[in-house]
């Protein structure tokens, strides 16, 4: 949720950092004063200056999504200090593996039911390579 950044009330970041919230404050549109925990979390994990650098590297229209994903990662890391949101990736990969096994078994049953001359079903199959190796070019020492 993007705040206007032009209200009299300092944004959550400037409130936390105890500084004046100027009109061109880079945090103000993305850290409204009604959501103090969002900045608290992001500050704890990434630090204000790192967030500021990241926001300055992306285009203005990308900043809202950037802040939301940083806030998501920060909250996940606070709840799970060892694995953060990488734990969620692991859970999802496990779900995908189980679903693929289930689908393979169900398709095998379907083939048994239809092998006696029914028309081809065009059974659906999701290729597992697409998601088990995502992101394929990142190191994964998990």
């Amino acid at each position: 949720m993007m705040a206007s950044g032009y209200s009299n009330s300092p944004c959550a970041a400037c409130k936390f950092l105890r500084r004046k919230c100027n009109q061109d404050c880079i945090f103000a549109p993305y850290f409204p004063p009604e959501e103090p925990h969002k900045f608290v979390n992001v500050h704890k994990i990434f630090g204000a200056s790192n967030v500021s650098k990241i926001l300055n590297e992306v285009l203005p229209h990308q900043r809202e999504d950037t802040v939301n994903s940083l806030a998501y990662e920060a909250e996940a890391r606070i709840k799970n200090p060892v694995y953060g949101c990488v734990g969620a990736i692991s859970v999802l990969q496990g779900q995908l593996f189980r679903l693929q096994k289930e689908l393979d078994a169900t398709n095998a049953d379907l083939i048994r039911f239809t092998h006696e001359g029914s028309s081809s079903l065009g059974l659906g199959h999701v290729h597992s390579d697409d998601f088990f190796n995502y992101p394929s070019n990142l190191s994964n020492d998990m």
């Binding site: 939301n68 709840k79 200090p81 060892v82 990736i89 999802l92 689908l103 398709n107 379907l110 697409d130």
Partner: protein, 188 residues
């Protein structure tokens, strides 16, 4: 992988990067070997050395290797994709789970249809049929949606209660963030 403790001859990647003496007991040394300079460079860029130190100090020693590896993974993902980082991977995987679940629901629906098609029609009401004379194809114990929505179908929205995190900016149904093992998570 945790390397051996720092030696005087070879500072760890963190101390090399920070241009400081790598002392015995350096908290970074076991996890940032000098052969992997990019690992610390990424982690420092995204999280900062002091934040990583605080994080590691909050954990038990046996948890730190996994913590550093997950931080390194997140940092690398964020360097490659500054907008979404590894949350992009979560979003992608969640869509794949939904797609696969739809495929599975459809396959189960098809299986049910074929199974029912093999059941003999019931006899006329005037005849009595001894027990056991009607043969029914066994239906495998699979996950049935309980809805027969046609051969190619619209699947209901599926929630995955085991997925602990919500993505606030997607339109997928999700669950609230819940305790993910803080203070020593053991998801993996």
């Amino acid at each position: 992988m945790a390397s051996s403790s720092s030696s005087y001859n070879s500072p760890c990647a963190a101390c090399k990067f920070l241009r400081r003496k790598c002392m015995p007991g350096c908290i970074f040394a076991p996890y940032f070997p000098p052969e992997e300079p990019q690992k610390f460079a990424n982690v420092h860029k995204i999280f900062g050395a002091s934040n990583v130190t605080k994080l590691l100090n909050e954990l038990l020693p046996h948890q730190r290797e996994d913590a550093v590896n997950s931080l390194a993974y997140e940092a690398e993902a964020r360097v490659r994709d500054p907008v979404y980082g590894c949350v992009g991977a979560i979003s992608f995987l969640q869509r794949q789970v939904q797609r696969l679940q739809k495929e599975l629901d459809a396959a189960n629906t098809d299986l049910l249809r074929y199974s029912l098609a093999d059941i003999s029609p019931p006899p006329p009401a005037s005849l009595s049929v001894p027990q056991g004379m009607i043969s029914v194809q066994p239906i495998p114990q699979r996950q049935f949606s309980g809805r027969n929505e046609g051969f190619y179908r619209q699947s209901p929205t599926t929630t995955y209660s085991s997925f602990p995190y919500s993505l606030p900016w997607t339109d997928t149904s999700s669950v609230d963030m819940s305790e993910g093992g803080g203070g020593g998570g053991n998801h993996m």
